[in-house]
Symmetry: C4
Subunit: 208 residues, 4 copies
């Protein structure tokens, strides 16, 4: 069976995915506990909020990371003309790891100087990016895209989703030497993305 764009069944998969993303992104606020003080002065309150700062920053980072994947998910499904159950199944596995992300993010927020926390976070995010590649590859191979995609555009798109995986996995051994350098390695995706944009094939211009 194939569900065409515009059918109730196509929409449902997106609505379900969006619900999942929205919950995963909002859940972390629950974790920020209001400090219990009796009739505090402003400076006492601000002092106690300072202890909450890592949790607050962790909320916004988690929001940004999952939000970035939501945007990628939005961008990917915008290219689709139809879906089959194989793609829906891969999407479910992808969502399982998205829904799991708040945990490694909280871990990172608490233990940013512990190599294992940095490594676990990098692997968790790499899995999500990796499953993005799988979704893209399935959609291309089974001709679920709305229009025919030239092979060089597909290859270029795969590179775009694979690059973060490479840098994230590269950062794992680095974390055990220096966690700061490991986090810096993640951001190599930014110049990497700029290089990829330079070598973008002409035909890719109207796909993204």
């Amino acid at each position: 069976v194939r569900f065409q764009r515009g059918s109730e069944e196509f929409s449902r998969v997106l609505a379900f995915s969006d619900g999942m993303f929205a919950i995963a992104m909002t859940l972390l606020v629950v974790g920020i506990a209001v400090p219990e003080l009796t009739d505090p002065s402003s400076s006492e309150l601000l002092d106690s909020l300072e202890d909450l700062l890592p949790e607050i920053i962790s909320f916004f980072i988690s929001f940004a990371v999952i939000g970035r994947y939501w945007a990628a998910h939005h961008q990917f499904f915008a290219m689709l003309g139809s879906m089959d159950y194989a793609l829906i199944a891969i999407n479910l596995i992808y969502l399982a790891f998205v829904a799991f992300l708040p945990f490694p993010t909280a871990l990172l927020g608490d233990y940013i100087e512990t190599p294992a926390a940095v490594a676990i976070y990098a692997v968790a995010v790499a899995v999500v990016s990796g499953l993005e590649v799988v979704l893209f590859w399935r959609a291309y191979r089974d001709r679920l895209l709305a229009r025919d995609m030239p092979p060089e555009v597909f290859r270029w798109g795969v590179w775009g989703s694979t690059m973060p995986v490479v840098f994230l996995l590269l950062s794992v051994p680095v974390a055990f030497i220096d966690t700061g350098v490991a986090i810096a390695v993640w951001f190599l995706s930014v110049p990497g993305g700029m290089v990829l944009n330079r070598i973008q094939p002409e035909a890719a211009r109207d796909w993204w």
Copy 2:
């Protein structure tokens, strides 16, 4: 009253169901508490995460089980041409047990060697599968399907949803002898499904 496919009211029932599924599937991450350690080494952190392993596995199992029912729900409603309030009411009862599933799953995750935990889990999942049969039967009887379904296709479909119920209930007494064997009984659905696929009536081919 009947709500036709394509109407706002038809869509709402699906959107509401999807919201429910998404929340039930995401909720368990909240349960995974980040360990509280002061400036841990990587091995200390990994040690403390080992204690969390059952909860992490429990999250992914719960996600897989509820995700499988979401896919079945998606597949079932894809066959519908309209809904009435009787079907909507059965769907609500069905969703109540889906929303409840995280509890028996957590129970199973913690006490996998206690017969009662295995039995409770089996019964809870059997109820969901059983209500799936009721939904299917109502839709068939009241002609809510998008196209006429030949009786032999309907019977074959009922068998497909009833089989897991049979194996799950069969596992209940078995659990009090050996919990491992009981869990193995659940997976008899896999070869059972393959046998069913063999005897699939010709006319069923374009329904699933």
Copy 3:
């Protein structure tokens, strides 16, 4: 401004409402804590689950009550042809009390023999039913219904939503005499509804 049925803006109000209902209905499972035991026998586990029974029952009652209001909400908006911001505002106030319901339900689950708990629950549910009447009255007065409704059908519909309010408020003083009788008063809505069905005006037949 009026948002016509079929517009993005009409759908959004329903999607937002459904999200709210779904969350309020699923939240209570979080409250059911898995008992902490070390390697329990089946009878030990079942004993400890007996203590959780009120919470489990409370979950299913809460689900049924909010589910019933969701069905009424679905039924009401199925009659609408358009919405304005006044109706959207009343809907928001209505949803605030729906989202609040899990609290009085939990209170009732824990203290079913305390008059104040029964009274608070009755008032909270009465407020939701009362706001249902306000929604209906606004939609009728401002001609937001999809078709013209004869005044006798409107009056009959108002009676249907007002009756539960009457019985719920009546049960408040009764609760301070006997909580069991108070709860029985709630169920007078059932025979009351049957009487109402008897005197249903002919023209109401194709509205519900």
Copy 4:
């Protein structure tokens, strides 16, 4: 890329936003813990609920504040004819601060007499209103509105969203003198809004 009104991609952004709003508005009920008493009398129960009153009021205030922003979001996107990824990105940042609001609201509920709590709340809400202005400005500049908007209507609309920001930021220094006066300053938006309505340009009449 531009996603036209009516496309799956346009709807998704709204469904995702609505999910976020619904969760942020419902989450605070979880915070209201049922008091633990053994077989309490009605007056004992009511006494213990008196301690919960700030949390209950905090829930309804939070609901009203976020609900007001949801209505503004609904009103803004009703004017749009299309979206691009720049607007989607600003919307994500906007939603991050909406999802964060329950925390400053809880803070305000607990420490309404502490200047810092009042100031933090005012800044958090001002950020959301400020991002509303940014959304509006982007949509106007990049011609994403469904119809051409005359510049004087745009300027008038910007004033409407900027005024709350001004009063909220003004209240910050005031809070450190007197928290009650600071909260009164917030409500200057109400007469301010009435003045703005007086000077509404003729052409604005059919936009809001």
